[in-house]
């Protein structure tokens, strides 16, 4: 029976998929991103133009182009597998939320998979416009007055897209659109972990909005954890 074969094949595929998800049997790449040298001083953001945002801060916020932490750790670095891993397949159903609050972007770098839904939310009492300066993807530029519904968008090509608000020029962020589902963004400690990697040869890329990209090749043979560190050279200006 033909349909029976199809059914069996379907079961097999499902089982394989279930195994892939269920068994965290692969290897892991983890590490830390740091900088050397003196990074440029992040200036205080002058929000006097927008009193409704300015009053949300007791100490005035500083710029986010370079955010560092203890031990020379570098934040907001996107670390991802740029080659070697199978494509992420269909995009996750869950949307990535990108919030405008206090006239800043949360998160500063939003990572999306190709065709994954992006939800842009305005929690401020003022209008923003979201202007991703895309080159490979379709560029758009939309206003979002206070109280408007979330803007839902997708990007269909891999690209690091600078995003800005023209109304509040200090607001700059990034939409990192990746093909892979294996990515991490460094946080407070500068650390990252890319788990569940089947054996294979990978290229790991670390991207920072001001300091550019670095790559390293890593081979995973089994269930081991490999350590990979990135060091960026800071620029004073």
């Amino acid at each position: 029976m033909r349909s029976k074969h199809v059914f069996m094949a379907g079961v097999a595929v499902l089982a394989a998929a279930a195994m892939a998800v269920a068994a965290p049997s692969g290897g892991t790449i983890s590490g830390k991103v740091t900088y050397e040298g003196t990074p440029a001083k992040q200036k205080v953001i002058d929000m006097s133009k927008e009193p409704s945002c300015a009053k949300q801060y007791t100490t005035p916020p500083t710029g986010e182009a370079v955010v560092t932490g203890a031990g020379n750790s570098l934040h907001n670095v996107v670390v991802y597998i740029s080659a070697g891993a199978p494509d992420g397949g269909s995009a996750p159903a869950q949307a990535v939320t990108f919030t405008q609050k206090g006239c800043r972007y949360i998160p500063h770098v939003a990572v999306l998979q190709v065709n994954q839904e992006l939800k842009v939310v305005n929690e401020d009492q003022t209008s923003h416009n979201i202007h991703p300066l895309a080159k490979a993807n379709r560029e758009w530029n939309k206003s979002q007055p206070p109280g408007s519904p979330a803007i839902s968008e997708k990007f269909d090509k891999e690209e690091f897209i600078p995003v800005k608000c023209n109304v509040h020029p200090w607001m700059h962020g990034t939409f990192a659109v990746l093909k892979t589902s294996h990515y991490a963004v460094t946080g407070d400690s500068g650390g990252f972990t890319l788990p569940n990697l089947p054996p294979g040869k990978y290229t790991i890329t670390a991207w920072h909005e001001s300091y550019g990209t670095q790559t390293q090749d890593v081979t995973i043979t089994g269930g081991e954890t490999k350590s990979v560190n990135f060091v960026f050279k800071a620029k004073a200006y």
Binding site: H131, L133, W140, K142, P145, S148, P149, N166
Partner: protein, 591 residues
């Protein structure tokens, strides 16, 4: 020299078939009606846009039913975005200025009545005439296409100031293909207007019937003639400006874009252009354009007025000379739009004086109209009401010009609602009142049926009071400094003004709704109105000597001979208190 076929062109037989008769017709009357229909479509579109804008200003976060169908991007969930407000504003201005105010009083009525009023069978170049309408129509289609492209209509306003209009979509939504379509549309419109103006001038100069000396032409004919002269030179400047703008946008030239512009973080690959050049070219067209809208209205109103007050104007000559001097001065004043644009401050003075000088012919005309009412026998009809309303609007819109003509006051009032109130009253409403007066007056001639007078009067009362309620408060807002072209009022000093804005919005809805009375009247009377006699208003000019509607060649193969000017009212004639232009009887003053 004998003309081998001199008569061929003008003695064409009536066309057969729907297409040649009503679509690609060479008949100036059909073309006039086509212009009128196009203007009617455009004016209702423009009005709907103004409704949407007024609604958004008061209730920026409210859904507008059906708006999502017009644009999903511009109105997600039916709520208009700020950029879509600017798109609608641009389209409102462009539709109204070009396709309503230029088309209706000038191209529509001028085409229909100029040849008849001078006793001609048709325009001098009927083929050009047809082409000018159809190019205008194409321009309209191209403009409206901006609504359906994904990019949406441009957001740079009807003035399309460079470099906002020139640098492309980096500067915002609608500035990609939307702006291209705008530029192409206006360029095509220029071509159509140039052809039309050329035709009007040649017709007036060469096709007047026997006895129709220049000074015997009705004032309306004079107005169209003067307007066509203005329009010829004005659009001849806008056309190259549009060509240069389009090249800057699509071919990478830098006529209007200087070096070193960083738009949305992108350094623009242009150098050496001058944004002020666009402003100069645009306003060199733009100011005369104001008179392209208002002069025909002045002519129509004068024409309607004398038939309604049963006496000639105190001096038709003075009116004609005033129109000429306004037309002439209109070319010397464009700089008053640019007082704060960074021109040399000395040139601001150079532009201020001729601008103030325009007040003199304008006042003369007003006084002549007013003085002519004295001792007259005014017949109140919808047409005469709109003519009288025109005088009132012209005065109201005109006096605010005193302010804007002075650079020192323009510092405060520039780009505020004061300016918006000024030009809406004097160029928009006044010119539209001229069109209404002309419509109520000439409708019987154009269709052979009378319009409903009661409905017409209601239309007048609502429109007259309504437009004052809308545009008078604009001046108050401007005095406070309410900036124009804002899609919402978020500044501290603007928020308290919202109640006044709400009043304006409500007035706009009522006044706009009243226009449907006009539309109903127009459609109903066209099919079911009372049949019109040849001369329902007991008027003197040649259009009232021919059947309603006139036959294909206007005068049934005859060439009328003219013995008088068109102002023979309040005199003893065989028909009563007036003498037709083609009546050979001698005029006996009544007293």
């Amino acid at each position: 020299m004998q003309e081998a076929s001199a008569q061929q062109v003008h003695q064409h037989a009536p066309p057969e078939g729907f297409i040649r008769k009503y679509v690609f017709s060479l008949d100036h009357k059909v073309i006039g009606k086509q212009y009128y229909a196009l203007a009617l479509v455009a004016v209702f579109m423009g009005m709907a846009l103004s409704w949407l804008m007024r609604f958004h200003l008061i209730w920026p976060n409210s859904k507008i039913f059906g708006l999502e169908l017009l644009s999903k991007v511009g109105a997600p969930g039916g709520v208009m975005t700020p950029e879509y407000y600017l798109s609608l504003m641009t389209m409102h201005g462009t539709l109204m200025v070009f396709f309503v105010l230029t088309n209706a009083p000038f191209a529509a009525f001028g085409n229909y009545f100029l040849p008849i009023q001078i006793g001609a069978e048709d325009m001098a170049f009927p083929r050009f005439n047809m082409m000018s309408f159809w190019t205008t129509f194409v321009a309209f289609v191209v403009l409206v296409l901006a609504f359906v492209i994904p990019d949406g209509p441009p957001i740079s306003g009807w003035t399309a100031y460079a470099p906002l209009s020139a640098v492309g979509s980096d500067a915002g939504p609608g500035l990609g293909w939307g702006q291209n379509l705008w530029g192409i549309s206006i360029a095509i419109f220029c071509v159509g207007s140039l052809l039309g103006s050329l035709n009007f001038i040649a017709t007036t100069l060469d096709l007047r019937t026997k006895g129709m000396t220049l000074m015997r032409m009705p004032i309306s004919t004079w107005a169209w003639f003067i307007t066509s002269c203005i329009s010829l030179l004005a659009f001849a400047v806008l056309l190259p400006a549009c060509v240069l703008l389009i090249l800057d946008r699509v071919a990478g030239t830098s006529f209007f874009i200087p070096a070193g512009l960083v738009v949305s973080d992108r350094l623009q690959p242009h150098a050496g252009g001058s944004p002020l050049l666009w402003q100069h070219l645009f306003w060199f067209f733009g100011h005369p354009e104001v008179y392209i809208a208002i002069l025909p209205a002045m002519g129509i109103v004068s024409h309607v007025l004398i038939a309604s007050i049963r006496r000639p104007l105190l001096s038709a000559k003075v009116i004609i000379y005033s129109m000429m001097s306004i037309g002439f001065l209109s070319y010397m004043v464009w700089g008053h739009h640019m007082f704060v644009s960074g021109m040399n401050p000395f040139s601001a003075l150079m532009f201020s004086f001729p601008t103030l000088t325009i007040t003199i012919p304008a006042t003369i005309m007003t006084l002549i109209w007013l003085g002519s009412l004295y001792g007259a026998k005014i017949r109140i009809t919808p047409a005469s009401l709109f003519a009288l309303g025109f005088i009132s609007m012209f005065v109201s819109g005109g006096v605010s010009g005193f302010f804007l003509a002075q650079p020192s006051l323009d510092i405060v009032l520039h780009a505020t609602y004061f300016v918006v109130g000024h030009f809406h009253m004097v160029m928009g409403v006044a010119a539209i009142f001229g069109v209404f007066a002309g419509t109520y007056f000439w409708f019987p001639k154009m269709t052979g049926r009378m319009m409903n007078e009661g409905l017409g009067k209601w239309h007048f009362w609502l429109t007259f009071a309504g437009t004052y309620c809308i545009f008078m408060p604009f001046h108050y807002l401007g005095l406070i400094g309410n900036v124009r072209r804002y899609s919402a009022f978020v500044d501290d000093f603007l928020v308290p003004l919202l109640p006044l804005h709400k009043f304006i919005t409500i007035a706009a809805f009522v006044t706009g709704a009243a226009q449907f009375l006009f539309l109903i009247n127009l459609i109903h009377s066209r099919f079911w109105g009372q049949e019109a006699p040849v001369n329902p208003w007991e008027a003197t000019s040649l259009e009232w000597t021919v059947p309603s509607p006139p036959p294909f060649d206007n005068f049934g193969g005859k060439h009328p001979v003219v013995y008088h000017d068109a102002h023979q009212y309040g005199v003893k004639g065989s028909r009563g208190d007036y003498v037709m232009q083609d009546s050979p009887e001698t005029v006996v003053p009544e007293s």
